[in-house]
Symmetry: C2
Subunit: 99 residues, 2 copies
DNA sequence: ACAAAGTACTTTGTAATACAAAGTATATGG
DNA sequence: CCATATACTTTGTATTACAAAGTACTTTGT
């Protein structure tokens, strides 16, 4: 593996918005849709699609429930997600320090 | 500025391939086209467009010359590029450490 | 009670981006 | 010379990002 293996950077995580989501979840473990949207200043539609992509990759799960009478989506980091995020961070460090 | 200001991440630098180029140049200062292409395992076309984008942003300059009889493009990090890269790194740290 | 406005999302259309295949120009080797 | 190679750039296509519009409610005002 080369010192500049930027190709090893997980694209699913590297995306600007998704990196924000993963960083948030890495310390919070779970967050509801609205908190994420506000913390990251993403539009509803944008957050929705990014969460879907992370979910497709198996990095997060979503739980649907109700907060009072309003629907609530909670985004939870999975074990695979945590591992992938850690691996991403390692790879990034390696890249930025030139291997 | 929020703790999760992923929006502050410079997109021109954040792109996977361009991050590789900037990381490479940050320690090498200058590199020729072929070295970059090989080190980063990018296709010719791909590297060409990414370098053009960095050049448009004023982060690198290209110098055309000849190595023997072959044309040679050298990519050089500009002052603005170095500043932008440093700022990017700072912002990234902030994001990954949650502010 | 009814309409208007708000909340919490998802789906969809469009604009930007990434990438590689094809193209250009020149050089070298048989 | 003709084929192959090098050093790129341009162009076509596929993926991605984003926000506007849509759905399904709930709350608020009158």
């Amino acid at each position: 593996m080369s010192a500049f293996d930027h190709n090893a950077l997980d694209d699913v995580i590297h995306g600007r918005a998704r990196l924000g989501i993963m960083a948030y979840l890495s310390t919070a473990d779970a967050a509801d849709f609205v908190s994420l949207r506000d913390a990251l200043a993403l539009s509803d539609g944008n957050l929705s699609t990014h969460v879907a992509k992370l979910e497709d990759a198996g990095y997060v799960r979503t739980k649907k429930s109700f907060a009072g009478k309003k629907p609530q989506t909670t985004v939870v980091l999975t074990e695979a997600g945590r591992r992938a995020y850690t691996a991403y961070l390692d790879q990034l460090k390696r890249l930025l320090q030139r291997g």
